[in-house]
């Protein structure tokens, strides 16, 4: 009895393979010991904002953030500095780099390269798994943190802000920024993970590039992720040196530009994957 149907006779073979790779990679990225660092990074802001919600300001007796407008301003600062700058950046760095470089260090990438799967599908499978994990995790954290702001002000305040106030629009923009940050940083780190033997360099390279971005000439600004993220984020009342910044293009253009940047990075990844040569024995 031949209970086995061979892949060649499977009409939509590539879809089965894609689903399989995504499943495997999600398991590897979210449920192994290396993933604990990402969960810790994601938990910190939630814990912080919950404490903020519960503790009352000793002097005024009211919520620490004074009024909701001030709270939203504080969120903007925390979002740009901590949530986006550290959590999403470092989180997606460790997550996307480990997709390829992690497997090369573990010497298990050859199991994929030896499977009859197109390199395009392999790269797409890995990238999508990374996206699902990062957007799922960091998107939820952004949403939860934003809602936690309303903890001291009660549900009614939240309802009114969402129905009439600026909250709905602001939250959508924040979520979009997080999503596009994952998409943009994800593709770039996936590519850098394939090229650099030592993962610390891609991270330092990008930190340097992103930090310098506001002093870069306009031409070079075009290819830095943070420049477009600024366009999507709610307008920031910047203080300090970063205030002097070239106005980012409107949100729609930024999203398009980021998608384009991602596509370029993915194409380079596939080309590199097609030519990669693994030599474990005497590497």
């Amino acid at each position: 009895m031949n209970a086995v149907t061979y892949p060649q006779d499977n009409p939509h073979l590539w879809f089965t393979q894609l689903r399989a790779i995504i499943g495997i990679e999600l398991g590897r990225v979210l449920f192994t010991s290396r993933a604990t660092a990402i969960y810790v990074v994601a938990a910190v802001p939630i814990i912080l904002l919950t404490t903020v919600g519960y503790i009352d300001n000793p002097r005024t007796g009211g919520p620490i953030t004074g009024n909701i407008a001030n709270a939203r301003y504080a969120f903007a600062v925390i979002y740009a500095g901590f949530l986006l700058g550290t959590m999403v950046f470092l989180g997606s760095a460790s997550l996307f780099i480990s997709l390829f470089r992690g497997e090369i260090l573990d010497r298990s990438l050859h199991y994929y390269l030896l499977s009859p799967v197109r390199r395009e599908i392999l790269a797409a499978g890995k990238y999508l798994a990374g996206l699902i994990a990062s957007i799922g995790l960091f998107g939820t954290v952004t949403l939860v943190c934003y809602l936690l702001l309303y903890l001291p002000y009660g549900v009614s305040q939240m309802m009114s802000d969402f129905s009439s106030g600026p909250a709905a629009r602001e939250l959508t923009l924040y979520l979009l920024t997080t999503v596009f940050a994952c998409i943009g940083y994800g593709a770039v780190f996936l590519l850098l993970g394939l090229f650099f033997r030592n993962p610390i360099f891609p991270i330092l390279v990008l930190i340097g590039w992103e930090l310098m971005h506001f002093i870069l000439p306009p031409a070079l600004k075009m290819i830095s992720v943070v420049h477009y993220l600024k366009g999507i984020m709610p307008p920031q009342p910047w203080r300090g040196p970063i205030a002097v910044v070239m106005a980012s293009p409107p949100a729609a253009v930024c999203m398009l530009a980021l998608t384009g940047l991602t596509a370029v990075a993915l194409i380079l990844t596939v080309l590199r994957l097609k030519r990669i040569e693994l030599r474990y024995t005497d590497s």
């Binding site: 903020v52 620490i64 504080a74 925390i78 500095g81 901590f82 550290t86 470092l90």
Partner: protein
Amino acid sequence: MAVYERSYHGYDGELTGTGNRILVISKFTTRELFRSRMFCAFFAICFVPSVSFLIAIYLRYNLEMLTELQIPIDEIFIIDAGFFINFLQYPQASLSFLLALVVGPGMISPDLRDNAMPLYLSRALTKTDYLLGKLLVLVVLLSLITWVPAVLLFFIHAYLGPEGWLVDNLQLPFAFIVTSFAWIFTLSLTALALSAWIKWKQVAQITFFGFFVMSSALGEAVREIFGGWLGSAFSAFDSYAVLISYAANEPVPISMPPSVAIMNMLVLSALATALIFQRIRAKEVA
């Protein structure tokens, strides 16, 4: 005339006591470190601020050279306790952090990756000797760029400077030594703990770098929301700064009570030591 055919013969010379194994480990680890030119260059750079402060002190007390340069002496060069505190707090704190980042994770991770532990443990030494040997290297290197130059500069200044300055500032060197040791042990133990648990040196370095950057970023965020000193409780750098000024009984730059600063360092060191000992108890070998 004799033909010595190359047969095996044992070693029957005298043997050293088992006590000196820690020093052997430290000696060889240091020797291997300084074999890489990149590290020697980096280590030399760590001494640049010490030398420049020395020159500053020297210039301060040789007026003739300054007069030609028409620099108003008194406003710029007030060499007092604050001078040394700034020396320790700014250049040396970040340089010692970078040194710990460069050296620390490379202490144990390569041995784990290359499965060298059985070579150590099959000899008459325990894992504690191994860890103390590695820790000693870190502590010595970090001391060379924190309290050692500070104390030296202090005594040079006491020698060159006004009479009686030494007597009424005598508590400074002790302050520098005690706080620097607290800072050194915090850095070294954290680096060793990460190095003992993570097989790849580079990953341990990222984690070490990420941990401190993350904690100070978190401190920033907390300061944004709460204001006051709670934010700096998260940052080890601020704790070090607070401790130095407090120990030298100078005005403390950040309003954080020194007890919180000490607690920050103690918690970190205790956690790191616990992680290291947890690794010792786990009898994993080859």
